[in-house]
Symmetry: D2
Subunit: 331 residues, 4 copies
């Protein structure tokens, strides 16, 4: 595939004309302040010359916009005043599921005090079993936003259905795509069009290359604000709930300019492992963490085994700070 970066302020009509009359396929994308034309196959793209083209690059990987073949410098993503992808490691924390105003606000205040920058919490919950608690839906989103207003923490929460896009447009600061929707391509496209920052979890059976192609669904809708989140892959090992693929997360980072995040809660399955996996992720080079914290994990409506208490979270944050500082980063 060829990527043509266009000159600024130039009329593209002759280029579009040429593309239309060629046998090439193409797509125009406006991203990172640039006007870009993606053109394929190579044999056709090579024939196109136009005054509007500033840089023409052949991209080998199947995720041209997400690849660092053309954009070497890391992309920094802003969620309100929080910057992801810079020196500072960003921690999103909060309950697995939003259960009530009080529970959410209690956690929000606690995680803020401990140094978290974002509030996480599930309102729409993908549950394996239809008879399990399914989340509070839009009401849950509103509870999150109230806690956000009280604490000043921007909110990241999961979307499961293209029909809910308006709720997310109205309220949410950062939209999460969960592992089970990691290849729900229509949802990815809609979230791309929404334009808000996206936390894109890797599907539990997706390769790094498939994960990056999933991000490409968002980027190609002119939305470059994607953070890639590793949350554990499915393997034969059952001593942990999933296998956090820290090597895969870093392998992704060597191929993309997008920031990477680790979720140590879901793979751990057990509280005692969350600390280890969080620290390991930061030491490996994660730009962000997303961690489940509950005021009373033992009575949580979901994932009670893996949510930290506010006290344990605070201990963890101090240890993360130590590791981050040792490696030239901040918390």
């Amino acid at each position: 595939m060829y990527m043509f970066i266009l000159k600024k302020g130039i009329d593209e009509s002759t280029l579009k004309e040429k593309l239309k009359s060629s046998s090439a396929s193409y797509k125009f994308v406006n991203i990172y302040g640039m006007e870009i034309a993606l053109v394929w196959p190579d044999s056709e793209a090579e024939k196109i010359y136009d005054y509007a083209i500033e840089i023409s690059t052949k991209i080998k990987r199947p995720f041209p916009l997400a690849s660092n073949e053309w954009k070497k410098e890391p992309t920094k993503i802003r969620v309100k005043d929080v910057e992801i992808g810079g020196d500072k490691i960003v921690v999103a924390a909060g309950p697995c599921a939003v259960e009530s105003e009080e529970q959410t606000l209690t956690v929000a205040k606690a995680v803020k005090r401990a140094g978290a920058s974002l509030l996480r919490g599930g309102a729409y919950k993908p549950r394996t079993n239809p008879y399990s608690f399914q989340g509070l839906g839009e009401e849950g989103v509103k509870i999150l936003m109230n806690a956000s207003q009280e604490t000043g923490l921007p909110v990241v929460t999961e979307i499961m259905d293209t029909r809910d896009i308006d709720v997310f447009r109205k309220y949410v600061d950062m939209v999460q795509i969960g592992a089970r929707n990691g290849q729900n391509f229509n949802l990815l496209r809609e979230v791309g069009k929404l334009g808000k920052p996206v936390l894109l979890k890797r599907g539990m059976a997706n390769t790094i290359e498939e994960w990056l192609q999933a991000s490409e669904y968002i980027l190609s809708e002119n939305n470059g604000n994607v953070v890639l989140c590793e949350r554990g892959i499915r393997t034969f090992e059952k001593a942990t709930r999933f296998t956090l693929d820290i090597g895969g997360m870093i392998a992704a980072k060597t191929m993309t300019h997008l920031p990477v995040c680790a979720d140590p809660s879901h793979p751990a399955g057990k509280r005692e492992l969350v600390h280890s996996l969080a620290l390991a992720s930061v030491a490996a080079g994660a730009d962000m963490l997303i961690i489940e914290v509950h005021p009373h994990p033992e009575i949580a409506l979901s994932d009670s085994e893996q949510q930290l208490t506010p006290e344990s979270f605070e201990v963890l944050m101090n240890r993360i700070r130590g590791v981050a500082n040792a490696l030239g980063r901040k918390l």
Copy 2:
């Protein structure tokens, strides 16, 4: 979980009253001609007695309606006049993607001649890469329905988005849930409400238990017409595209009353393996097969490596017939 099968023609209001005033959770389902109440947790369910209850069964598996703990006899599912789950092995065949009127009709006629009972074909296509051919969408569905009218073969095709439910209501005979949406719970629920027969593919990283719980999302919306389709799981092996888990398919069959289907095309990745996997699936006990056939596989817009020619499909059908007959079944 407890399952209460209610007496026919009985007023349920006192039972509902009792459930409402208990601390139990419950759900009423109308399925297979029965009125059923699912009640949990067990400690609460055990306290409920009512005149309306004919049979009360404790169900241990997390997919009560799909389990054969209460419904021993296999469920037979009708797609128009085709019965799935009986003696006869049902074969759905057709192109990976609907590309044109002509391509679709040619294949439809060929597969009918060779003994297929259903026409398959992708109109909405989940593609790993956003720049690949994405299917013809609603237009593709209409092409399929035309071919259906000409040949008399009912159509099975994939839905990817809850927003497309009306297209499927209007046209399609059997709705396919693809592997990548195997845990798209909102889509499963909508397809349940739709009431049409469903071909539910197993997610490529889903356990048998998760797959059966996914079917439960459909059944609990009063739609018992689900065929479980094994299409290959993700493993370390790359000599085939996916690993067709024939043992898992049969393990599922020992736990459910629903029919099982195998898709030998997607795991094979190569044409030469499709025959072997199709025959193996029938010998193991599959009730249905879904096979990709293309008039000219070498120029197909997707999956060209694994689509059979009509000639090869006919040879395969004859071999399937032999194996089926040897094991007391028909084709």
Copy 3:
């Protein structure tokens, strides 16, 4: 890598001279009645010309001797008067572990009566736990050989240690390499030197390519009598003990001239699945099956869950015969 097949009855000394004085690496192998020189890397091999070379072939796969790039016709392997790899499907059957004279003889007679051609049974047992029954060792081998004499069935049994090679030289008809020793390269080499037929199980985490390279360790010791045995790979699925990779087994068959065998007992884990997996393997194209049969599975010292009774085995054999006949093979 280049393969030079040498002319018959020709003096090789000048070729050896040339190879010695070149910078190529090489290995002479005498296999399938041919004298063969393997020479690499290609850049060096291409420079070698000699009168002794009848055919020179460039082999692309990393298992030159096992590859069907040069030997198109399937290899048939004889274990005494049993031929593996021809029209007839060969079934080896017997207990998981040899427990006593009586148990072994009872099973041997039963499986012979039902149509088995080989007697299987574990004397040296690889057990996950050091406190489990570890097998009878050499005594177990002798019990097997007695049963062999009484029934006329040749014996296949597993070797675990290079130090036991003399026991196998003295007694055993076919030597099995178990899944846990699938990459025990020293053992493979010794079994190659032994010259007896080998049943080479695929390591539970080995790719098809690694499996075929393991066979190459045996073949390159001048022993071409290898049957490749698929016995299930490790995947995330736990409803079965292992995932029988029928597609992988057939993919191997498309790359090699060696016969392939399936072990339906170990992956099944449960008796009720053994039938399905055995029938599926035959339908897919396996040349051989190896099945566990015990006179009283419920009191077996190992694998009691997956051993068939003699009665069930007989039923299965009849069904296998039906499938084999339907596909133009015999039992």
Copy 4:
């Protein structure tokens, strides 16, 4: 299973008498300065009372000696004057394969200078392909020992065959069991009898529970000096060579008193990932690292892609020191 810890200096003969005359199975082990009797099944063990028994504990896990159910304090293992399992993180470093005196000595000096405590290097090499460089064998071991004498670094190197046990008895300080022999039970038992410290790699398809049972083969031969080494498991992901299961390593640590080691080189496959995986492992809680270093990785005879240069290793050691210090440990 029951564990009886015996009183010191007590005559065990009456206990042995009782066990002999019971229907229990049992095994006496002398480990960590204690005389221990393991007795099973529970129903029989419960009947045994004897004056010689100081503590009687029911052990639930299938690896009684390795379990921390009875031995809470972490075991520290000495390789000459190097202690593994204490505050100090121990790093073993050296070439993938011993290629020559000079190469080995150069690396040994470099890694010592950078802070490594042990010299690693492969003399017996398990290679997937029979035509690859197979290691220098005993000669390689001698080269390692010379470099050990010059630098004072004790040596850890891999054993592949029970027939080589005398070479290891004579020369080697710490014996490595490689991933491909992770369930070579005869080799494990011999290495147990040898009595030297063992670095036990996890088989690439072994669960945590199987890995710990493998260690039990060594411990039950009265050898408690085992370090468990995670080196990456086989998963569907191919962007890295193996998936380093850091969560699994720490899950193991929560179940055993044995120290844990991580091998970041083999899973990385690429030099740039070795740093990330090494740092992650230390942050998670590894007691030891084993890292491949080569003076000129680009001309290495094996694994050239993943060996660090001495310079890169030194940078890594400084970063490891920072992370270790931040978490209250030393390098």
